[in-house]
């Protein structure tokens, strides 16, 4: 990540704009890092965790991420931040933006799933169906379409 992904301008700008980033070096762990690794049940590196300012875990990913995939994960985390804040309209927009901006990343089908859920919680069953139909159309082999496929029955 330090050699390839983080140095890219769009990544360093995105990370800095959207978050306060914290790095814990598990190669030379202090007692505090050991404590945090246990608290967060961190079992492998790299592990990425997005938190709200009050410490609520929004999203977690493990392993190397290229630039586009990492930036998409930031948008997913922002979507979940709006979702847990019950701002479902904003959450739906943020989730949908992942698929629009990063349609080839692994998070794209998941983003449509959650965009649909957020639309439903915002009072729009039509919004749910629109996103889940798009999920079916564009990502029918994804596990997220499987999760949504009950709408077919």
């Amino acid at each position: 990540m330090d050699a390839v992904t983080y140095p890219q301008e769009e990544v360093s700008n995105g990370v800095s704009k959207l978050s306060v980033p914290v790095k814990f070096n598990t190669a030379e762990p202090t007692d505090e890092i050991k404590r945090l690794a246990k608290e967060f049940r961190q079992i492998w590196t790299p592990t990425f965790i997005w938190l709200t300012p009050d410490g609520l875990e929004l999203r977690r990913k493990i392993g190397y991420f290229p630039a586009e995939e990492l930036l998409a994960e930031f948008e997913m985390a922002r979507g979940f931040a709006a979702y847990v804040g019950q701002d479902y309209g904003k959450a739906a927009e943020l989730f949908a933006s992942v698929e629009k901006e990063y349609s080839d990343v692994p998070a794209a089908p998941e983003s449509l799933y959650w965009a649909g859920v957020a639309e439903l919680l915002n009072g729009s069953k039509q919004g749910l169906m629109k996103n889940w139909k798009k999920l079916q159309h564009n990502y029918s082999n994804s596990e997220w379409w499987t999760r949504a496929s009950f709408i077919e029955s």
Partner: protein, 36 residues
């Protein structure tokens, strides 16, 4: 040769949470093996 990252990493989680609250941002945690 890798370019030097511009990201300013915090090392104190509680400080990062406080800053994130002030700046209306998320906290992004990276548990990484950084070569010494």
């Amino acid at each position: 040769m890798a370019q030097e990252t511009k990201i300013q990493w915090e090392t104190d989680l509680e400080k990062a949470k406080m800053e994130a609250g002030k700046q209306d941002k998320l906290v992004f945690v990276d548990f990484a093996k950084v070569p010494g």
